[in-house]
Symmetry: C2
Subunit: 233 residues, 2 copies
Amino acid sequence: MNSQQQKNWQSVHDEVLRRIHTREWKPGDQIPKEVELAEELGCARATVNRALRELASEGFLDRRRKAGTRVAAHPVRRAKLDIPVIRLEIEGRGQKYAYGLLFSERRTPPPEICANLGVTADSDMLHITSLHLADGKPFMFEDRWVSVAATPAILKADLEKISANEWLVLHAPYTRGDIYFSAANATEIEAKVLRTDPGASLFLMERTTWEDTTGITSARLLFAPGYRKHSAI
Amino acid sequence: MNSQQQKNWQSVHDEVLRRIHTREWKPGDQIPKEVELAEELGCARATVNRALRELASEGFLDRRRKAGTRVAAHPVRRAKLDIPVIRLEIEGRGQKYAYGLLFSERRTPPPEICANLGVTADSDMLHITSLHLADGKPFMFEDRWVSVAATPAILKADLEKISANEWLVLHAPYTRGDIYFSAANATEIEAKVLRTDPGASLFLMERTTWEDTTGITSARLLFAPGYRKHSAI
DNA sequence: AAAGTTAATATGTACGTACATATTATTTCT
DNA sequence: AGAAATAATATGTACGTACATATTAACTTT
């Protein structure tokens, strides 16, 4: 049947995926063990292993030692979102990027930021708001808090020229982070900045990054109406 | 320095990531070649290769044959979103899932669906709207079009009992899909169904799936206010 | 029969070797 | 000097073997 004499892991990957897609192997079904597949497809077990491992990480297969490999009973779509620096996202669309610092103030954080980052209310922080534009039109409104204690060098950064978004990516160490995607109605101020109407529905991205247990920065990114984030499966 | 005698690929992965995080290796820097790293860390090249390959797929490294491996100049955060069947998402939160079919009608599609799926205006399609509830409260409003030609078995499915969302995942073959995330103001009807106010900002997920070049289904999923999609980096 | 112990087994991974492939560096030819 | 051919090189992958590990199945003991 499948007598293709290619024996690279990608061809194994594709062949197995084909059998899943065509329901030759249905959700919940146990599939042949690695050695059997290797024999059938004429390649080494390591090659089959690589292919099946990849498929498992993509959410198509469930694998357990001794128990074997089966087609995922509830295929989980695993959307991969690339979240580049805003400048690159805009330039990637072929638009002209511009950026304006709205204000920058060194002060103690409000309660919700303390909770987010796990810092005390008397922490030394930098509060920055800025606007990112695409082809001259408001694209994204950034409201960010940065821990000065964790990233003292931020004070020397020229935030008129480089956005905090980009500076942090290039200079701040981090180990982990959270992202939340949601929707929010524009407040009057936000609407004014983004040149839309109060109450307009905006795509919201909230990000917090940490180095070990030290909170580095917490940002609220509000996108202008019409923004859509895409992912292929 | 790093004289840990562990020689599994994960420890190599972690060690390299540590050097990136601590800026020992900065964005744009070239890192030692595989053989050198293998020697330094006391393991086989294959082990280093596995670790670096993983890091590259996570967006931390850029690798090119002959040119070598360097730290990504513009680290792209690669958020992985798990998008399970709605029922499982709700149950995963420890809430009780319920589902109600609002209406189901077999008819020809409107222009925007034709454009989405690449089907003709006289196609045989099923239009389904339904509501998914968590702990009795409206959670997500689903507005879906399914191609009957591509998935005739859908006509026999009891969509009062199983949601189209879940039925399709279990029974429809597919090869690829698109997801768009955005935000939308609730229309009067949507607000009524989701028991919120017209104009409320709602998180919107638009999905289209295909089998090769044949459009299978296109869905518009509107989430109740307060919904947030999370991802850890 | 229930509990605890041991054997069997499929996947997980490490290693060394060999060769493939893409890309850069070098050399040769015009 | 510029173009074309050639060599050098780092990553990419395949393979066979060996052993690790998690988990199930079988068996023994109480």
